[in-house]
């Protein structure tokens, strides 16, 4: 394994690792949970699109428009392959945030007699683990429709407590929207049972795959979920591109979210009818270069092999958790071993505020994230003001963990704790 998968070799594909950081240090990038770095092939793919094929897709009879369309639709096919989805089920948005809002608004826009309509007294189920992006859109939908927002609580390790599943998912439940992996604690949510319960009451299941799709193999057919969202920028791809995947039979009966050009079937001054998916959900000239860039990122991941990526991260997380266990005054928040958890490690150092920890690590070229990680309710539940979070990806290796651990020691010395 080790010999096949070489983060040191991988780093050579990422121009940013040539950069010199504060204090003359090399970049130890442990913030891929926020956004990943990009390999050269992604930057080249975007540039190539602009330099050779740039035109508005689906809108012109000319050669560039043909080429742009085929690049853009080719990117869609790559993403469909990545998720084991049908091509027309893959919708390009600007981000997971947009994808999740799009689903919530589609519910909100549904006519009263539709499968998607939400009435007063209906239920929307989330969990205490959610990122704001998979919480606030549902809060707002509940407010707009009079539905009730309820949630799965978490246990002491930060795992979802399923004991009340039958009280949460009832005949009144219309949507269950859950994260696949916590961006704060790394816990992977065992969704099988929840998906089953959701479908048993005729509700729909939305998966926030922001922290899973970039890190392990996702097969939408096997998962059995109804909608899924993730962001390209966390998966080696460009900024400004996200994925909304939905089952085709659902998509073609949903109200669109953004309206405008290219998503219509017919338009008069007073009325419009909609094209089928994916166009139905892609109003306007799309983020073409970003779709092409994301496809290049997916090809890069596919070449590494998603199973290898997952194995590498699991091993590295195990290594890091062992190191953490030996540190005095440092407390890992969330699962303490690498079982059913991803490569995100949140921790606190007694007596040093996370923001100050991050500042000291920065001095050693180490980039981590600090704060509530857009999961403020989770922080409140855990009784924390924030954590310091290290998150790993394909370009990280044990030397990065070692740098982190020794810089934590320096931080403790600096703040005399």
């Amino acid at each position: 394994m080790k010999s096949m998968f070489s983060p040191a070799e991988i780093r050579k594909d990422f121009p940013i690792f040539a950069k010199t950081m504060r204090g003359g240090n090399r970049l130890v990038y442990l913030d891929s949970g926020a956004t990943s770095q990009k390999p050269r092939s992604v930057l080249d793919a975007e540039r190539n699109f602009y330099e050779l094929h740039n035109a508005a897709v689906h809108r012109g009879a000319h050669l560039l428009a043909e080429e742009a369309s085929s690049e853009y639709e080719g990117a869609r096919a790559v993403l469909a392959g990545f998720l084991n989805a049908e091509v027309d089920e893959v919708i390009f948005t600007k981000s997971a945030t947009e994808s999740l809002n799009a689903i919530a608004y589609s519910f909100g826009n549904a006519p009263a007699n539709s499968k998607f309509s939400i009435k007063p007294g209906d239920r929307i189920v989330v969990s205490e683990l959610e990122h704001h992006a998979n919480l606030i859109p549902w809060q707002q939908l509940a407010k707009r429709t009079g539905a009730e927002l309820v949630w799965f609580p978490i246990d002491g390790e930060g795992r979802i407590d399923l004991s009340k599943i039958d009280e949460l998912i009832t005949e009144r439940t219309k949507v269950v929207a859950l994260t696949h992996q916590s961006n704060v604690l790394g816990t992977i949510v065992p969704i099988e049972k929840i998906v089953e319960a959701t479908h048993a009451v005729g509700a729909l299941f939305v998966l926030d795959a922001c922290q899973s799709a970039p890190h392990f193999k996702i097969d939408v057919k096997k998962l059995g979920v109804d909608f899924l969202a993730f962001s390209g920028h966390k998966a080696l791809g460009p900024t400004g591109i996200g994925i909304l995947w939905g089952r085709l039979d659902l998509l073609n009966h949903m109200e669109p979210f953004l309206t405008g050009g290219s998503m219509i079937e017919s338009v008069t001054m007073t009325d419009a009818t909609w094209a089928k998916a994916p166009k139905r959900f892609e109003a306007g000239v799309p983020n073409m270069a970003q779709a092409v860039g994301l496809a290049a990122a997916i090809k890069y991941l596919d070449a590494l092999g998603m199973d290898n990526v997952a194995k590498h991260e699991k091993d590295l997380t195990g290594y890091a958790l062992n190191q953490f266990a030996n540190l005095d005054g440092v407390n890992v928040i969330g699962p303490k071993n690498n079982i059913d958890r991803g490569s995100v490690i949140s921790f606190e150092i007694t007596g040093i505020h996370p923001h100050d920890v991050g500042q000291v690590l920065d001095q050693y070229g180490i980039a981590v994230r600090t704060g509530h990680h857009c999961a403020w309710p989770l922080m409140r539940k855990l009784g924390l003001v924030g954590t310091t979070r290290a998150s790993f990806y394909v370009y990280n290796d044990e030397s990065d963990v070692d740098s982190l651990i020794s810089a934590i020691d320096e931080a403790k010395k600096y703040f005399k704790v």
Binding site: H58, R59, A61, S69, S70, E265, S266, A275
Partner: protein, 145 residues
Amino acid sequence: MELDSLYQEVILDHYKHPQHKKLNPSYTAQVHHVNPSCGDEITLNVSMKDGVVESVSWDGVGCSISQASTSIASDLMIGKTLETALATVDAFSQLMSSKGNETGDENVLEDGVALAGVSKFPARIKCALLGWMAFKDAALQSGAN
């Protein structure tokens, strides 16, 4: 010139003199199809009797390719059984997705083979298919009635 592979004489002829382009007031199914990206619209009537296509007639606006293709399709379908007609539509769809690598079977598609060149111009495939898809839709509706 590359253009000539798209605009065969036969096509320009059908475009200038479209066949069956006058809606027959009696029909077993009527459909209205549009091509939203370019605004082409077509109304197409089909009469089926005893599993055979008795008449196809249409009206609409569109480019030379969509007009000629609809003209060719209507002419071709009349007199065919539902089954043969649908198989012919399938043969044409396949030709359209051939990226210029097939010439089409003249025994099956007759004048339709003149549209083979369209398959090299991705943006025009929808134009060529408009009438055929409308026919298929109407024929299936007639069959189901």
